[in-house]
Amino acid sequence: MPWVEVFGMGILDNIISQNGYQVVLRNLGYFLGGAGYTIFITALSLAIGMVLGLFAGLGKLSANKIIYMLSTAYIDFFRGTPLFVQIFLLYFGILPVLYDNDPVSSAIIVLGLNSGAYIGEIVRAGIQAVDNGQMEAARSLGMNQRQAMTYVILPQAFKIVIPPMINEFIALLKDSSLVSAITVPELMHRGDLVFANTYEATWVFGAIAVIYFVITKTISVIGDNVERRLATD
């Protein structure tokens, strides 16, 4: 598995210890390597999710019935069934038919598909929140539908969707812990392994929670900054 080379730093220290904090300290490198996986998987799924979400969101606003129905079906399925079920369905069921799938790439695909559905709804709401007069003004200048979307509507929708998008980033990062169930060596999975060897539940999962929190807090601070920088009035 090539992924291990990238975030393989730290090895599981499986000595049963009397002191929980020592377990955490000894395995800190191992955990941080897992956090690396978590961030890596989340970032790639997010990239996939944003592309899918943009198309799904535009599709839900499309006058073309087929495009509308495809987008709606996609969003309904991935938003209406549990992510945990989707992970198992795709990892064990669908993806092995398509290619020789490994846990990490499967995780990225499932999380990407799942977040795409939520981002699709965010995109749709964002576009609809832009005043209709903006489209009219753009069209009255002679822009076609696509130009008006690209230069006038989407940049404004982008600003509107930042807060819900940050929400989605954070939710996705936390939800990525579910792929521990298919042995992706990410943060939660490594916490699970260390716990199984040491039984230091409070210390181990406390440390895992703190690491998740530091990452999500960083994302929300970055989001606040972007929001402030884009404010024009």
């Binding site: 003004a137 200048l141 009035d233």
Partner: protein
């Protein structure tokens, strides 16, 4: 220049235009007046097909906009429109609002577009606001920028949809002054307005609409001083 032939328009059950015939000659300034709900804004919006007509034809410079094969975007580039609520692009500076369409649609170089935009800003008296975002402008300033933005495409016709109706009273004058200058330069204009003073002073022709039809039209003197139709008389007695 503009020809509207037997245009009908409904919104669901509500019939807004009931067979409107209307012409505008080059360099003419036509003011459309009438009570709210009379269909005057809808007529204006049908001229550049922001509202699709149910039947009838609209021609600009001999080209039929209502024909399904017409490239509507191409024609709209020659028809400037100014909206009641300005509809400036809030994410762009004043200068960028004006240069966006020339750059993106006509492919004009940014430096050239900037130069044209600065000249237009001079014309509407707002050169000092070039790099400000619309949110920082007063209503009157916004509307003057909106006029400059429409002019940047060098339109043959300008349509004004109640351009001063959303303004505080003290800002109406500055916008009307810009429009008056434009009329003096020979711009062909259709102005839907409640400013009877402007219609009388600047308009070459006044059109009175009520309940989806043109009830009466003529020179400002005819319409304001000697209206023939009782509906025109009733309307004018209320607003003058």
């Amino acid at each position: 220049m503009i020809q509207v032939v037997d245009v009908y328009k409904s919104f669901g059950q509500l019939q807004v235009l009931k067979g409107v015939n209307f012409q505008v000659a080059p360099r003419e300034v036509v003011c459309v007046i009438g009570p709210s709900g009379s269909g005057k804004s809808t007529l204006l919006r049908c001229i550049n097909q922001l509202e699709k007509t149910n039947s009838g034809q609209v021609y600009i410079d001999g080209e039929e906009l209502t024909h399904p094969k017409t490239d509507i975007n191409k024609i709209r580039q020659q028809v400037g429109m100014v909206f009641q609520l300005f509809n400036l692009f809030p994410h762009k500076t004043v200068l960028e609002n004006i240069t966006m369409a020339p750059i993106k649609i006509k492919g004009i170089a940014k430096t050239d577009a900037d130069k044209i935009a600065m000249e237009l800003l001079k014309k509407v008296g707002l050169t000092d606001k070039a790099h400000v975002f619309p949110g920082k402008l007063s209503g009157g300033q916004k509307q003057r920028v909106a006029i400059a933005r429409a002019l940047a495409m060098q339109p043959k016709v300008m349509l004004f949809d109640e351009p001063t109706s959303a303004l505080d009273p003290e800002m109406v004058g500055e916008v009307l002054a810009v429009m008056k200058n434009l009329a003096l330069e020979g711009m062909t204009m259709v102005v839907v307005t409640h400013e009877m003073g402007f219609a009388r002073e600047v308009g070459d022709r006044v059109v009175f609409m009520d309940e989806g039809i043109i009830v009466e039209e003529g020179s400002p003197q005819d319409i304001f001083d000697n209206p023939q139709n009782p509906r025109t008389q009733a309307f004018l007695s209320k607003v003058l």
